[in-house]
Symmetry: D2
Subunit: 340 residues, 4 copies
Amino acid sequence: MIKVAVNGYGTIGKRVADAVFAQKDMELIGVSKTRPSSEALVANIKGYPLYIADISKKEAFSNAGIEVAGTVEEMIAACDVVVDATPGGIGAKNKELYQKYGKKAIWEGGEAHELAGFSFNSSCNYKDALNRQFTRVVSCNTTGLCRIIQAINAEYGVKKVRATMVRRGADPGDPKRGPVDAIVLNPVTIPSHHGPDLQTVLPEIDIVTTALVVPTTFMHMHIIQMDLMKNASVERVLEIIKNHPRMGLVKKGLGITSTAELKEYASDLGRPRSDLWESCIFEESVSATDNGELYLFQAIHQEADVVVETVDAIRAMIGEVCDAETSIKITNESLGFSPI
Amino acid sequence: MIKVAVNGYGTIGKRVADAVFAQKDMELIGVSKTRPSSEALVANIKGYPLYIADISKKEAFSNAGIEVAGTVEEMIAACDVVVDATPGGIGAKNKELYQKYGKKAIWEGGEAHELAGFSFNSSCNYKDALNRQFTRVVSCNTTGLCRIIQAINAEYGVKKVRATMVRRGADPGDPKRGPVDAIVLNPVTIPSHHGPDLQTVLPEIDIVTTALVVPTTFMHMHIIQMDLMKNASVERVLEIIKNHPRMGLVKKGLGITSTAELKEYASDLGRPRSDLWESCIFEESVSATDNGELYLFQAIHQEADVVVETVDAIRAMIGEVCDAETSIKITNESLGFSPI
Amino acid sequence: MIKVAVNGYGTIGKRVADAVFAQKDMELIGVSKTRPSSEALVANIKGYPLYIADISKKEAFSNAGIEVAGTVEEMIAACDVVVDATPGGIGAKNKELYQKYGKKAIWEGGEAHELAGFSFNSSCNYKDALNRQFTRVVSCNTTGLCRIIQAINAEYGVKKVRATMVRRGADPGDPKRGPVDAIVLNPVTIPSHHGPDLQTVLPEIDIVTTALVVPTTFMHMHIIQMDLMKNASVERVLEIIKNHPRMGLVKKGLGITSTAELKEYASDLGRPRSDLWESCIFEESVSATDNGELYLFQAIHQEADVVVETVDAIRAMIGEVCDAETSIKITNESLGFSPI
Amino acid sequence: MIKVAVNGYGTIGKRVADAVFAQKDMELIGVSKTRPSSEALVANIKGYPLYIADISKKEAFSNAGIEVAGTVEEMIAACDVVVDATPGGIGAKNKELYQKYGKKAIWEGGEAHELAGFSFNSSCNYKDALNRQFTRVVSCNTTGLCRIIQAINAEYGVKKVRATMVRRGADPGDPKRGPVDAIVLNPVTIPSHHGPDLQTVLPEIDIVTTALVVPTTFMHMHIIQMDLMKNASVERVLEIIKNHPRMGLVKKGLGITSTAELKEYASDLGRPRSDLWESCIFEESVSATDNGELYLFQAIHQEADVVVETVDAIRAMIGEVCDAETSIKITNESLGFSPI
């Protein structure tokens, strides 16, 4: 059993904790929180030992009816691997602690590639993560790009990718961030950082990305165009997507044309938290031209897609499961997950 | 086993179907849909027999990979009780069909009181529904008002209620309705229809309501003020709410101050579809003055609160469970539901 | 000519500057900005001398093509009255500067009553502001409450006011603040601070207020209920509103039922920046009961209503115009403003 | 004086009416409305004769205090050119009426190219419109594409254009349309119709477009990529834009990175209705690669950009001003318009 600690039990951390808890080869030894909150209470309800960085706040937790198991340092000392899901920028400061105890650590995409020295996507470079001490799972958007580009590149060869990310403004549970009524260029310069970020995983890909933020709460929408080495057939592309363990097709004829309807579908299917771990590619959008271009829309659930990748990263770093296929299969099956 | 048909498998209908399916004394004999859709596909996946009004559309369903069990008329013929969850106004047209087969029928709050001749809320008038042929479960907003007003009236006597409903603009899965950036007076006149609607259940209550629509997708927010016969104590009011099987307290100290955080909490708790069947009263908002006034905020999940009431209504109309307490207990337990 | 400086040329400050510029008895001697921005550029285009707090940033302004006239301290030294429209909390820190130069100063509603020791609304207490050194113009919401409550109190006597403020989340030009999809209780406790704030102007009024924030950008919506000393007639209330120089009626029959349509109407009328300086009371909403209650909806333009009050406050503090009616008339006419 | 009638005094029609009214060589002889509304009242206030299709509704207008000058048919009979700004699809039905009276007519982009047989953009094909009876001014999005593509094509030669339109969900004054919280693929298929629509004006351009709808109210955002015949220089592209009479640069250093800040800037500049008649290209976004690619973001004000084009179309169809440059100059100057 791999002993896993989740440092930062927020939007990503709580999902990683649930996913780790569901794995037969892993044990969730604890999660951490800095302030009393409904999430901390739910950790108690689920029976996840709750650790806090500043033990002097223990009373504040008690007052809110929340039980604390100990300090974050104790949690780190007891684990084999820590998943750092603290807010972007905080994770870097925690590296010293993980080194002090000689622990393996995974950071999420809010941290820089350089912090871990290695960036991960199950379908692209699982083997390169074997037995590493430090790994970074790339962000939700980059994960979505990695999956489709790697798969298409393997089949047709990709000469150039141009992608636009239309990003949600705030997570569903966030009552503060905006915008309320604006399309925000983020960044206003072209290209955005997503292209170079993809290249930390797939260095050979020529890619230009642009990114905007809009007032929605669930899922980013990607508009992807690729110049291929040879002409693609739509049928074959759809087949590639169908056969991929982390991509799904939003089938035509079901009336789903928006992120709202897609989330509702996940909810109807009984997915926990309505999570879509898979990239959701709109079947009707997949188009190929006779001069080697491929176009498609894909929706990416910002809270979910990296969760399954993180579970695979844990397994790779421990090194007992040596290939991506096996790990992905274990991860998916333990969650009862097969793509839409 | 009570044979239940759900005519209209949309936002409310699909939740009623799931709730009926979970009851030990009920059998879900079928659901209906007019067009192929992701919801129809999910009915298939869940194993709910799917009926359609216009059998000539069967091929369209087949083309979308969806299996059809027969016609709505066949479904009605086979049931003991039909829950009509078709869009507002359509339900009235179905009455003739239900009468033709001599079936018991329940409509939701989008239909007029007169259609059924009786309006229902479990906590207020369960016994009056016993053995009825037709019943209307009042709307989500009215249900939310019924619960708290009945409970406070029983304890203190209510002289006057003033309530404002700040309503969500569109359901989460709806990509069409707005508004995008407007506060809409709906209606612009005062009072709104919610007061008279409450009086179909609690005729003795003096109430004035106002209603607005805002650009959100989940939960209405009620601002409620009551003039009482005697002064209330906040502690006792909180106790009444805690002890109520369909009201819950959003406890202070957990950082929940918005509909977004409340929905996230439901999601974290693992509620199916993140549904909040209970009225969610904000503990910190409950205020009592020394001249007999009571104030509070409550959030009402527009997709969910009537679902449990509908299940009780079915039971009442069959008449084997003769008191509200027992039915509510069965309904709640079969859903694994205890209020937050 | 009253020499006026506007310290803080943002949402409120730029409107105050334009309004001061339009007055025949006032001279706008300068405005201030901390960073280069489109607003600073517009100050240049309009010919308003632009001052900056930190003169070392002059080059940054030059690089953006913006001319700087000098330091904020120089601007203060040159004025008779300074209007402090800096962000909430900053204004308090500026008091010392204004005292150093012995200048009269006006703060906006983001600052505490105690800072100025006097809170102002033209229609309520103009005379009390005569010749004062320091005055605070109450916030947009409080200004809206002051106008209608004072007017109704004068006619009928007000026993009790209950008001809910449904507030916009972000200003139209703000791409950062939210919420995106939430109704936020702000505060979650009842009452909100608006009641006590009203009492800084109208101390005798018994009032309970509640406040929420929703994802819109223009105008707050107030739901107001008053218990009166005697029964009101709707006709007389409408007349009072029509005759008030700072309240207007959204007439029935024109199809305006939302903040969106109201803003569009202001825009169609050619109002600068689509500003609604008046409280906008919905004619159809005004309702009176035979037990002395009055109900109404009013929309308050958060960027505009305090602007005209601020101009009056300047005039009162200089003391040459001794009554509210005359000042209001001058202010309104110089802006070409008569209420809708 | 060219006698112009505006049939349909809504979002576009009212702006065209104001723009026509401002031209020295045109006379606005009337506008039309089907129902009493605030817009109809404003037509009265501005002194624009108001005509209605169904004269039996005259009393309804009177009741709302709105004066009616006569029937739409009388208005058509009296004009030289009618601008049809009725809702999409209605305009086609009006063609017969315009033919009956032998009048010249302009439709907006909501109607099909075939209805007029000619599609117009001032900068692209003014001369082809000379003396025509029927003309269609292409939609706001297509107008925005026409301007930049024609200009870049003239300088560098355009091999291929790929453009994504992120569209606003509802106009600012619309309280009904959504979405509230969704990114909607509209259409879900690729390409969208905007490419073929551009080709009605610029038939030689190879273009693929995609389109989405988001919950905002002002301006569409275009992400444009072009493959050019030769490498572009950013400086030269910026110069081309600066020199264009209908394109403006959102300059860097002013802090404008969103549609919200851009609209605020228009408002600060005192533009009527905050209208941005020009395409707004973000200076910092303009990027050129050494393999002949050009990238940029442009914001398009959906209510405004076609207005100035429509005025030019009127002039072209009358035929007294024979070149685009002269007409554009007259139109711009009469509005006091020079691009940002």
